[in-house]
Symmetry: C2
Subunit: 655 residues, 2 copies
Amino acid sequence: MIQKYTFGTPFETEAVVALLPAASDDLAFGRISTDDGFFFSYALGPDDKVYGLGEANRGIDKRGYLYVSYCADDPIHTEDKHSFYGAHNFIIISSMPDASKPDASPNAFGLFFDYPGAVTFDIGYSHRDLLTVSCDKLDLHLYVITGEGPYDIARQFRRIIGKSYIPPKFAFGYGQSRWGYATPDDFRKVADEHRRHDIPLDMIYMDIEYMDHYKDFTVDPQNFPDFSAFVAEMKQRGLRLIPIIDAGVKAEPGYRVYEEGVEKGYFCKREDGTKFEACVWPGTTHFPDFLNPKARKWFGEQYKVLLDAGIEGFWNDMNEPAIFFSAEGEAEIRTWMEKILQGELSFHSFDFSDHAKALANKPEDYCRFYHDLGGGRRVRHDQVHNLYGFNMSRAAGEAFARLAPGKGILMFSRASYIGMHRYSGLWTGDNMSWWSHILLNLKMLPSLNMCGFLYIGADLGGFGCDATEDLLLRWLALGVFTPLMRNHSAAGTREQEFYQFDHPEDFRHVIQVRYRLIPYLYSEYLKAARNDDLMFKPLAFVYPQDRIACNIEDQLILGNEAMIAPIYTQNAIGRPVYLPEEMMLVKFLPDGTLYQEILPAGHHFVEVALNEVPLFIRKNKKLPLVDAADRVAALDMKTMTYIGYPEAPYELVEE
Amino acid sequence: MIQKYTFGTPFETEAVVALLPAASDDLAFGRISTDDGFFFSYALGPDDKVYGLGEANRGIDKRGYLYVSYCADDPIHTEDKHSFYGAHNFIIISSMPDASKPDASPNAFGLFFDYPGAVTFDIGYSHRDLLTVSCDKLDLHLYVITGEGPYDIARQFRRIIGKSYIPPKFAFGYGQSRWGYATPDDFRKVADEHRRHDIPLDMIYMDIEYMDHYKDFTVDPQNFPDFSAFVAEMKQRGLRLIPIIDAGVKAEPGYRVYEEGVEKGYFCKREDGTKFEACVWPGTTHFPDFLNPKARKWFGEQYKVLLDAGIEGFWNDMNEPAIFFSAEGEAEIRTWMEKILQGELSFHSFDFSDHAKALANKPEDYCRFYHDLGGGRRVRHDQVHNLYGFNMSRAAGEAFARLAPGKGILMFSRASYIGMHRYSGLWTGDNMSWWSHILLNLKMLPSLNMCGFLYIGADLGGFGCDATEDLLLRWLALGVFTPLMRNHSAAGTREQEFYQFDHPEDFRHVIQVRYRLIPYLYSEYLKAARNDDLMFKPLAFVYPQDRIACNIEDQLILGNEAMIAPIYTQNAIGRPVYLPEEMMLVKFLPDGTLYQEILPAGHHFVEVALNEVPLFIRKNKKLPLVDAADRVAALDMKTMTYIGYPEAPYELVEE
């Protein structure tokens, strides 16, 4: 059951699409105080778990930390960070199973705080036994969901927020990316090397260097005098180019998108109606007003120039929006510098680094521009900050439906709010070549699924810092199961294309495993999307009566048939794995054969070599495998076999 | 067997105290190139492990990353960092056990690169199968050690570097610290609150705020008009105050230590003999020339003023040496600022943060000052950088032997080189309130022991960032076993004294467990120190034939009787534990009783509540326990009982 409570006059985020009547009952869980903004509190039981929050830090169980939903361009995802790129205000509070009632579902309820500004979740951080959720203004919808345990509650929530985005099948292929590819030869080299090493590849991503001075919807005229021809050349080779689109539009006289936006008033403005500019990649930039329906439509139509050139996929970036610095920020720094130079202030390195840190994504800057909602209504950006990335991707998604009806266009975004899942996937932004980020990648998967996001993935191998061959191999052995499978890295870091390492054959093997699994992965994706289900589930959702399973945070149920337990520790020869029931351990061996062994329920230590991919098949289940191919379109469904329990049924769902 | 190879004219670091003849044989392992500095390479076998490097990042097995020995004041210990505070150039390369020869020791050899400048260890980072070690100048001693496996090699190395420092027994008590305690009442509050909650406590640490304007060997005259009386007041309560001493001496006319140092020429100078100043905590600072024997003696004698006040322990900090910025660094920034303000350069936040980052601990600054070795010999600091912290603590240690002969003085340092272990312990510097730093803490313990450092510990609960009650409890359940057991945190972070949290009784229990174990811990410490042994051993050293044990990185053998397997994951109800042989699981329960269970060899999942402390006792071993007391001196050895296998012998070693 879902109860909708409305406080004040909420901004309608359009996260929820179901029409729900206002709740008539009092709130059944927790207490609400409205003395100073909105403040919800709930006393957590000693063993209660808290799921949700989508793209957030730490565990699948979010208990024990403080999270702030406020889309943040912060690339350093250490354990202490409170905000990542997404804002997903859905949580589920679930008690542990009651040993005395083995057939009862755990007590659980879900909460969705539909509020587009900052929301603070103190989940047993200040006090281990206390959950509090608060925001500054008393203007929100609160949805309270009760049901048969946390899994049921997650699916009920999914049903009210609308169907998840379904990408074209090629999007399940492997994609290679790096910030720095600029010339046609850079892209050809990636294509050539993958073919030379016989490594499957479907997509090459174009990071910001493909553009003409970082201007959206342009290409560098020197490098790409005939972009359509280059797109066609790559397509001819079975490869799709996937360009990045940044939220900010370069302020440059003569640049069509900029001129049009200014002329039509489609950029965010200051309170007094004058322009708001900030520095991002292109230099001085204007932010399209994605919350203005007309501006959204206009921006979406800009994608046409690239669609017309043959492009079939995009990634929307910098749409928190990220701000390197504003004119005010720069002015403050200049004043500070003047005072230093004139001897009014003494110099200290600490002040210097504090000033440096404070320049980007300044809260004050988010208070300096407004959205025009039509009819004379305006809203200050900070109050609807979390909707910006969502509505950028919505702009594109709505345009694709008009411009390329029925054609599948790949799209994923960095910033997001619940609701965007109907239009787009997401990637989890700038991670690092850290082993701990393999595990963070894994833990986000079910949490994102709970919030509607199904087409998801991390930068495999890590975006920042220097990857090693073993790190990349182990990470890929998780990445083979994520819908978005992309190797992406930052300029200035160690090159991490497969052919940069000593054993490209190991990478060929792992990527071939991916392609062998695509029919299964796509089928399970379609089922999850069509049935408002999760593709990645915590073990707690499937084995709610199993106390150990409920506390496992480094294994996931994949689809309905499989369990994954990747290795995320350097130099490990294997790892402990808990089986809530008998399962078949499958290892994809580098010679192309399979190791298969039935293991009984219980605790195991499973050895897995660096170049093997482990997978567990649940008891009395099976899943399809096909022969690998060099691209998704070349997969031959006639080669399909099954692994697992032979007598089991499997329903293959195709487009 | 130990072979000593000498290249060029090494700087004599005094790390090794044994007199060893020059090796007559050719190098038995690896290849050395001397074309451009020193370059050692060795082809690693697929399963070879590399131990050592003391206080370094990542695993007990160092394979798969790049490490640079260059004492670094960098508080952000993420996985990508190459240098921490210490420089410990000892490694052991060990093959895995040969399954066909179950009684043979694994092939292994050790290497100590005795070179006081930067040394780069590429341990399977560039290529997984290649180890390289290099430094700029061809002036070093290389010690090559062969023996019966890695454990034997570690002990052989320990024998040539001299006996490890033994602290007074009170140093095994619990210590409370926080950067920010400044007034007598701040310290009294810590004492009062521990007594009020009946939590044992032996030491309260004095971070930099106790000083008069951060001047070494002073106390704030306002706060401590009669410091001796305050020290005595605390001593009366059973508590010792442990002040910090920073390496840099404030440049302030009239400040005795500064005036004397200048007069005698005991500070490091520029090449032309003029003063070298840099900004650290006190502002403009001079660095004592710890490599000059006369200056070392002089600096050591400065501790007398605090010893005379009744102080019995010190921690030496900022002795890499840390430099916030130099005059040259400031001048560069000012020039850059001028260019910005005059419009010669355009402003960008990236340049700003790059400049901010580059100010501290600039390599160029380490080339700007020299050490006077006597007899007209001078050496530029960067070439002997790694000896600075070592010789600061040596200065103190040598002085204590003169000033307080026979009296145990507690001392530990931040920066270090092998050799310092004879004079001092170390703490592992500015960590964070991150769960991953519990595991990093654990992994450093055996590596530091291999390099001679026995009195060691991390900032429990984490120095930077905000600790939670559960993090601190889990971390303490490791910290109860480390010789240095100190809760320390940075100003500006969440206060993490036990009484700041909801359940001080849980902390009382854990600290009482520590005190119950002190006779055992001190006994095992003394054995390790006297016998050149390790107090913390990787499982691989004790069970070299057990392939799984050899790959366990999150359990350690403690002393000769125990194994520890702490929990380092938030919200975990327990963890997988591998037992190479039958062991007794002991859980110290919060009601003061013990849970004891014999577990067979193999893989287990062990449940451990947040307020329990788990310990494993090896088969046919036992260890002593006493009743807890409120301080070490109050422990009553007559209350001693044993836990473990009752028939086992145990040799208790006391001072």
